[in-house]
Symmetry: C2
Subunit: 335 residues, 2 copies
């Protein structure tokens, strides 16, 4: 199935996106509105989590925004009704915050996931559910590239809880027949990502520093990672939502090519046309939670759903820096 | 290290056991008291969970029982202080209950584990912690026997949350230097196991039926499993608590030999000298959560700590049925 063919599955359908004002949620919403879906966005706009009303500016008159917290079980019980699709993207994704406050991470990434699945089971058992998981649950890989059967060794509370959140979807699919699946996203970047602080993603912060003409502090520089451009990630959600073959499955996403941190920052500074970088040794306190090199094997989703990443790093970073140059005042501060 | 040598590590030491009035906790307490430890048992005696004051009858004057719930963060903050060892055995372990009420399972098996680890981190960072995990987190195995690097595919909410509970211990060990480890117990049986209802273990219920002279209903009968006798399981906790080599590690336990369900029930009826069994086809609704054959590879703990199971099934079931015959009125009803 191509993305264009998949788009037809959403025409005149009801779609709920949790975390809908966030990075991935808003980009997905824009795509779905253009495909003819009736989109409801649920977001609690918690400070610093990444939700931003400006993210949906291109479609703001064509979506319904419902400010609510996925931890609000009664609200979610109502909101899941009559939806054809549920893209479940609400989450606490900061690793640092998960260690500072493991309880909030647990409430959002575990308890709210259970209550959302219970809501679907009780009020809308036919809804198609796509859960946003992350390759970070693998921890330090034993071999590369990492496929879906690789041992998972999460390195922080956020990784543990996201792993559990994903497993609830798979268990509810197997035991109760819910039509749920999960995408393990690798590092994803692009317009509308959070650049306001550096607790969620290093790359968002680097982009901001490059555009501010600052020197980016690179620790080490040799760590290899893969990066998915947002349009590719959105395409994976579109395909997974539209395909019955995805039900009960977990799929890795991936990037066009693995790159070192040094290559990443060089490409960023070139794409931005501003900024610089300084390489310093890897600090000891980071070494304890370092995972070494990581990149994902995405052959399972390529075989099952025909997905693969198409936007290279230079092209993606040019589009990203161009976006923030044009819309900077909506992202540098405030939410 | 032998068990006897390990016992010396507990002489005049302070030991806290959560779930201390339960099956494993009480047997461990009896062993530790005999090794000269000062033992505090925390248990909330929740109906049907398995805690039973009669379990500690042989040492009741030599342990301190503190009725409290591990979800009580303030109580646990106090209780972990000045302990040398924490055997963390409190848990909701019924798979059926975890699907009926996933929130309670989450509160006990995830949230309370985080708060217990936070309590240790804040008030007793030197305490040695052994967490009781389960091989049930592996789900349906891809190959046999199952070692610790095998893919985990929990089949119910209880399996997911126990997996998370285990991972918190490992992450807190790696990130904060807590001296925590986990034992993945396989099916464990023996005196003081719960036989009051059949929602926790099938074997406990079978033992009760055999002693009542009833016909045990065996579904299928060919499913292979491994069973650990309680004294062997207690020995593993003793060794793991006493050994620095265990810190940050996860170990499978296992049984002397894998047996089919039919062999198990035949052995049980012979050991009890009463009861009978009827074999019926495997019901369709159980098939959805069936895991096929399972037995664990325990070579990691054998190499690292010198543990291996020593009590065969016939011997273990004879001791178990003899115990319940003698103490039946304390187990057939009430808690």
């Amino acid at each position: 199935m191509t993305g264009a063919a998949a788009d037809a599955a959403y025409r005149d359908k009801n779609v709920l996106i949790t975390g809908g004002l966030g990075f991935v949620g808003s980009n997905l919403a824009i795509r779905l509105v253009r495909a003819g879906a009736r989109v409801v966005l649920v977001d609690s706009l918690i400070d610093d989590y990444g939700g931003n009303l400006y993210n949906i500016q291109p479609v703001e008159d064509r979506v319904r925004v419902n400010i609510a917290d996925v931890r609000d079980q009664h609200g979610m019980n109502y909101l899941v009704r009559r939806q054809d699709f549920l893209f479940n993207l609400a989450g606490q994704v900061s690793h640092i915050d998960s260690m500072r406050d493991p309880y909030t991470d647990l409430d959002i990434n575990c308890r709210a996931q259970v209550s959302l699945l219970e809501a679907c089971r009780a009020h809308n058992p036919e809804v198609k559910i796509v859960y946003a998981s992350t390759t970070q649950i693998y921890g330090a890989p034993g071999s590369l590239p990492v496929n879906e059967t690789h041992l998972r060794k999460p390195i922080d509370v956020n990784g543990i809880n996201t792993m559990a959140g994903e497993e609830y979807h798979i268990v509810y699919s197997r035991v109760y027949g819910l039509r749920a699946c999960a995408l393990r996203m690798t590092r994803t970047y692009g317009p509308r990502m959070l650049v306001r602080h550096n607790r969620q993603t290093a790359l968002g912060w680097f982009i901001r520093q490059a555009l501010d003409g600052e020197a980016i502090n690179v620790f080490g520089g040799h760590q290899v990672r893969d990066y998915t451009y947002i349009d590719d990630a959105v395409e994976a959600f579109i395909l997974a939502g539209a395909s019955d073959a995805a039900v009960g499955q977990v799929f890795n996403l991936g990037g066009t090519e693995p790159v070192s941190l040094l290559q990443l920052v060089e490409t960023l500074v070139a794409a931005a046309g501003s900024g610089s970088f300084i390489v310093t040794p890897f600090p000891e306190e980071r070494r304890r939670i370092d995972i070494g090199d990581f990149y994902a094997d995405y052959s399972k989703i390529r075989s099952a759903l025909g997905w693969q990443p198409t936007v290279g790093l230079r092209e993606g970073l040019e589009a990203t820096t161009a976006y923030y140059r044009a819309h900077r005042r909506h992202y540098w501060s405030g939410g």
